[in-house]
């Protein structure tokens, strides 16, 4: 039980619909926040439109690969980011979804709630969402055992047996976290681990964690609730059942690019295609972080991307004058 205090301190600056901003940033994760910091320091009129400030990092229990922070909670790191941006009084709007964007002389951002904001340039930093496995039973048992947020739902599986699907850092971290709560954790992955060695080594020391590489999940089974998984051992070509009350899916992410797909060029994965300046195919529209086709989705890279886009957008705005 979390008796520590996770207080969110929001600022009171609000976005103005009447105004034309220099840069509006869509997204409040590492990319969006760092873009805000760099834009504001250039003296630009900037605002953030987001759903959840902090973004996906908030769902990460522990971050150990952000330079300068040997070990910090995802939320703790994002609080530092948000506090830093707050010092500069950047206005933001939270808990809204963008419907689409339109480019004329200016760029209009249309929200699902009907509101519209205007800007000379925008930086899209909407990040990504968890990818689903796409197997029978996954949807049926979603929220009945199948989960996509280990730190949120982990406490509900105290003393139960659970499975984590995936082989990257997120999956291994989820398995390590869950091992402290659940009776037994089985980590299942289609091929071999691509997680950092330091994390895998930590995982291997845990008594209640079992690892099944080269194993494919075929189906989620159960009655009213999930009861287990049918998996296939790819080397032995053998099918069997793993009993489990929960399946935590950590197999990667899908870009949140839907609102932009009508006007921006996307690659086959749905990621926004950007050049080395963070420019999209439309003048004045930049994109940063996990929503783009930049390789390796990492907090520090997203933050760096955000800085790059802010500097690029600054140059773009100077050409308008």
């Amino acid at each position: 039980m979390s008796l520590e205090i996770n207080l969110n301190v929001s600022n009171k600056n609000e976005l103005d619909m009447e105004k034309v901003y220099d840069i509006l940033i869509i997204g409040g994760g590492p990319a969006g926040l760092n873009a805000a910091l760099y834009s504001k320091r250039k003296g630009l009129d900037v605002g953030i439109i987001s759903y959840d400030l902090g973004g996906q990092v908030m769902d990460t229990s522990s971050v150990e690969n952000y330079l300068g922070f040997p070990s910090i909670s995802g939320e703790g790191l994002m609080k530092k980011f948000i506090d830093h941006v707050n010092i500069l009084n950047v206005p933001y709007l939270e808990y809204v979804h963008v419907k689409d964007i339109k480019k004329s002389d200016l760029i209009e951002i249309h929200l699902e709630d009907g509101n519209t904001f205007k800007s000379k340039s925008i930086i899209i930093a909407t990040g990504s969402k968890p990818r689903k496995i796409g197997i029978p039973g996954e949807l049926e048992y979603s929220n009945k055992g199948v989960c996509y947020c280990a730190i949120c739902d982990g406490p509900l599986f105290a003393d139960e047996e659970v499975v984590v699907a995936g082989g990257g850092n997120s999956a291994v971290e989820a398995a390590i976290d869950l091992s402290k709560i659940a009776k037994k954790v089985t980590l299942v992955h289609r091929s071999n681990f691509r997680a950092d060695k330091i994390l895998v080594d930590q995982l291997l020391t845990l008594d209640n964690v079992q690892i099944k590489p080269e194993t494919q999940i075929l189906e989620v089974i159960g009655d009213k609730f999930m009861k287990g998984l049918i998996v296939k051992d790819r080397l032995g070509n053998r099918e069997y059942t793993i009993e489990a009350a929960g399946l935590f899916v950590e197999i990667g992410y899908l870009p949140n690019s839907d609102p932009f797909k009508n006007i921006l060029a996307l690659n086959s994965k749905g990621e926004i295609i950007v050049d080395k300046y963070g420019r999209t195919n439309i003048d004045g529209i930049f994109a940063a972080g996990d929503v783009t086709d930049t390789p390796y989705k990492q907090i520090i890279m997203s933050a760096g991307d955000g800085a790059k886009c802010a500097l690029s957008a600054n140059e773009y705005i100077n050409t308008l004058k």
């Binding site: 039980m1 947020c149 739902d153 509900l156 009213k224």
Partner: protein
């Protein structure tokens, strides 16, 4: 202070300076065995010391059974917020509102104090048509960053419509209840024990589910 360090206390003090009127916080606990009753009392004692607009009242679910009954309190610990005139606003926190849930607790305190937020016109109109009693349960864990948003919305709906009652329920403390309501992802929202959904969804989704009860 055990729960609030100096930094958090200062931040809280600044946020709570935005309260308009006084708010009465009723804390229902019971003698042992009670998971988190003592922690809840300690936490709220610290919390209430931050603002002079917070009046704390410690009650026992057995010896103060009549009061518990007035506010439909069945669980311990349970926290009921009353406005300055001691009107029941139909919102409760069942379980300790620490972790992320401190944010929904603050938001509801603000609302009950009279520092209210405005609902979009279309939502407000649909809400005014909810003419039957509605009970909204929001199951949360304290480590869930998405949960306070769902609690805030449920509470806001209850504050704006006398037919609606909204309860936060901390799923770990009330394990049996969570089992009964099949909670395996949070936030899980259950309306009139019949309609349910998962996630910090929009007011629109809350209303659509409640409107099913009107047909």
């Amino acid at each position: 202070m055990k729960y609030l360090n100096e930094e958090v206390k200062n931040q809280l003090s600044e946020i709570l300076s935005g309260m308009k009127d006084e708010v009465n916080i009723l804390v229902f606990t019971k003698e042992e065995p009670c998971e988190t009753c003592e922690e809840t009392r300690d936490f709220l004692n610290e919390f209430a010391s931050v603002s002079n607009k917070l009046n704390l009242e410690m009650l026992d679910i057995k010896t103060d059974a009549l009061k518990a009954n007035d506010y439909n309190v069945t669980l311990t610990p349970s926290i009921v917020l009353l406005d300055k005139e001691r009107n029941y606003k139909r919102i409760k926190f069942n379980g300790i509102p620490t972790g992320h849930e401190i944010n929904s607790f603050i938001s509801s305190l603000m609302e009950v104090s009279g520092n209210t937020s405005e609902l979009p016109a279309d939502i407000s109109e649909r809400l005014s048509k909810i003419s039957k009693p509605m009970n909204i349960k929001v199951f949360v864990t304290l480590s869930c960053p998405h949960c306070p948003g769902a609690v805030e919305k449920a509470h806001k709906l209850a504050l704006e419509n006398n037919n609606i009652e909204a309860d936060m329920i901390e799923a770990q403390t009330f394990y049996d209840l969570s089992e009964e309501y099949n909670v395996s992802s949070v936030p899980k929202i259950v309306i009139n024990d019949k309609h349910e959904f998962v996630g910090n969804q929009s007011f629109e989704v809350f209303l659509s589910e409640m409107e099913k009860e009107l047909v």
